[in-house]
Amino acid sequence: MMRWPGFSVARWWSIVLKEFLQLRRDRITFGMIVGLPIVQLALFGFAINTDPRHLSTAVIAAEHSEFTRSYLAALRNSDYFDIVATLPDEAAGRQALAQGRVQFVINIPAGFTRKLLRGERPALLVEADATDPAATGMALGALNLIAQSAMRKDLTGPLARLQAGPAAYDITVHRLYNAEGNTQYNVVPGLMGVILTMTMVMMTGLAMTRERERGTMENLLATPVRPIEVMTGKIIPYVAIGLIQASIILLAARFVFHVPFMGSIAAIYIAALLFIAANLTVGITLSSLAQNQLQAMQLTMFYFLPNLLLSGFMFPFRGMPQWAQFIGNLLPLTHFNRLIRGILLKGSGLAELWPSLWPLLLFTCVVMTVAVKFYRRTLD
C-alpha cells in the first residue's frame, strides 16, 4: 500500500467508496445527474430558438392562378410558414391576428397575376404579429426569398424577362455558422459548460455541507482521516459524474443536433476534465463557507448566474460592456466555452486553445489553495 507522510491511499479510498455508496442510494441526485443535461438540452437546444419556424399563417387569396398556387406551395415548403387557414377577407385576417391564432396573414390582392405579367411589380400584403420581433424577423426575411424563387420557376419562356427583378430580394436567410450567433451549433456545446458548472459546484457543495448538517462531519473529524483525503475522496465520484454528463451532451450534440465535430474527442475530454476540476474546487470552497445545504444552494446560484450571463453563453461576449467582459474573463465558464466551441466548431489545436487554457489552470490552482485553507480541521 502506498504511503507518504500525511496522506494514506487506503483512507482516501475509503472516502471514495463511501461517496459512491451514498450516491447510489440517493435516487433524486442520480436522477438529476441524467435529467439535468436532458432538460437543459431540450430547453436551450429546442425551446429557446431565435430563429423560430413553423409559424402559423393564414392566406387571403383574392384570386387563384398558377403563380399564386406555386407561391403558396413554396411558402409551405420553406418550413417557416405553416398555412393553417384560408380566410375570406381582410377583416377575418385582422381578427385571426388579434386573437393570436396566426402569426402571419398573407394577402394576395385581386389583379396580382395580371400586374405581375405586365411587369408592374404587384404588392403582396403581409401582416405579421410583431409582438415578439425576434420571432418574426427571420421569417419575414425568408418571405422575399421565397417569392423570388417561386417566380423564377414560373417565369419561363417569354416571361423570363420579368426575372430581372429589382435587387430588393437580397435578404439572406440561409446563414452560415456564426461564432457570435445563437444557433444550436453555438448553444449546444456551450450547454456543456453550463451544466457542468451547475452540477459540479452544487453537488460538491451539498456533499460537504450534508456531512456537517447531519452531524457526521464530527465523526469524520474525530478519525485520523486528513482534510486532503476527505476533499479529494469526495471529489472523485463527481468527476465521474461530470464525465458522464459531458458524454450525454456530446452524444446529443452529435446525433440529435448534428453539431459538427471538427476537433478531437480527446481534446474535448481533457478540456472537460480541467473544467470539472475548476468547478469542484469552487464547490468545496463554497461548502466551507456554507453552514447548511440551503446556504450551499444559494451560494451555488450566486456563483452560477454571472457564469451564465457573462460567459458568452447567453449573450455575445463582445457585445458586452468592458466591465462585464472583465468579470467574464475571470469566470471559468467563459474560457471553457471558448475551448469547447473552438475544438468542436473550428477544430482548434493546442496553440489556438492555449489563451483559454491557462486561465482555467490558474483558476483551479488559486481556488484549490483557498479551499484547502478554508477546510475546517476542527469544529472551532
Binding site: R11, R25, T378
Partner: protein, 312 residues
Amino acid sequence: MSDSGYAIDVHGLNKHFGSKHVVKDLSLQVRKGEIFGFLGPNGSGKTTSIRMMCGLLTPDSGTGQCLGYELVRDADAIKRNVGYMTQKFSYWDDLTIRENLDFVARIYQMPNRREVVDRTLENLGLTTRASQLTGSLSGGWKQRLALAACMLHEPQLLLLDEPTAGVDPSARRDFWEELHRLAARGISVLVSTHYMDEAERCHKLAYIAYGQLLAQGTAAEVIAGQALSTWAISGDNLSSLSQALHGLPGVAQTVVFGGALHVSGNDDALLETTLREAIAGKPLQMTRVATGLEDVFIYMMNRSSDNFGPPP
C-alpha cells in the same frame, strides 16, 4: 509518550465561543481502566470539554494529555487511539450497517478488516441485518452500533457523549454492563450523562455547571464534599409545604421525590428545628435520610446558577 497512569490528565482548559466562556479552567484526571462520569446541566460545557480532549476543538489555553499524548500537538495520535461517540448519532443513515462498519475499519486502516467487521456484526447480533440501511434502526440499536463502531479500532480510551440519551432502561442497563466489561479489560471511559442511576455506576464523577468544574471524586466523596444533611417528609400536600419552606432558616433546597419531600441544608441542627416547627400539628412524618447524588447535583446547580450572569 509518557506514562502517568492517567488516561486523561488535563489542566486549566479554557474555551470561548465569541464572548461566551464555555469551559473555565477545567482540570480532570481519569485513571486507566476507570469509568468516569461527567455530569452537569444542559449547556454546561460537557460536550465542548470532550471535544477538546479528542482533538475536535482547540483549547484557548491549558495543557493536558490523553493516553500520554499532548492535546494539541499529538492530535493525530489521540484520534487514532481514542474512540469518540458523538451525542447525536453520527454514522451514515444511507449506508448499510456493514458498510458503516467497513468504512470505519478502512478509515482506521485495520489490517484484518473483513474479520473485524464480521466479528463486530456477530457480537452485535446484527449479522442477519447487516445489509439493512442504518437509518432504519431503532434508537437503541443505533446506540449499540455507534458504540461498536467507535470500539472497532480497539481504542484504549472511550469518550462517550450522552450515549444513552433517549434509550430505554433495559437497553441502558445492557449498555452499562458492556461498559463495565470494557473497563475490566483496562479500557478507560469518560461518559457524560444526565441519569443518576448511571452516575452511581461510575467509578468516579465530575460535576460541571456553566463551564466550571464544581466537584470531582467518587460518588461518596462528591456527596460528602457538599456537607448536606437531608430530611424526607412524607404525607399530603407536599407541594404547598415545599412552597412554605422556601427561604426558611436552614433550608437550602426542597425536592419532591415520589411520595416524599427531600429537604436539604448545610446546618443540620437549624434545619431540623425549622422542619419540626413547620410540620408541627400536621399529619406529616419526617425522617433523616442519606443525602443522594441527585440532591447534591440539584444543590450545586442552583448555587452555581446564582453566580452565572451576563459578563460585567
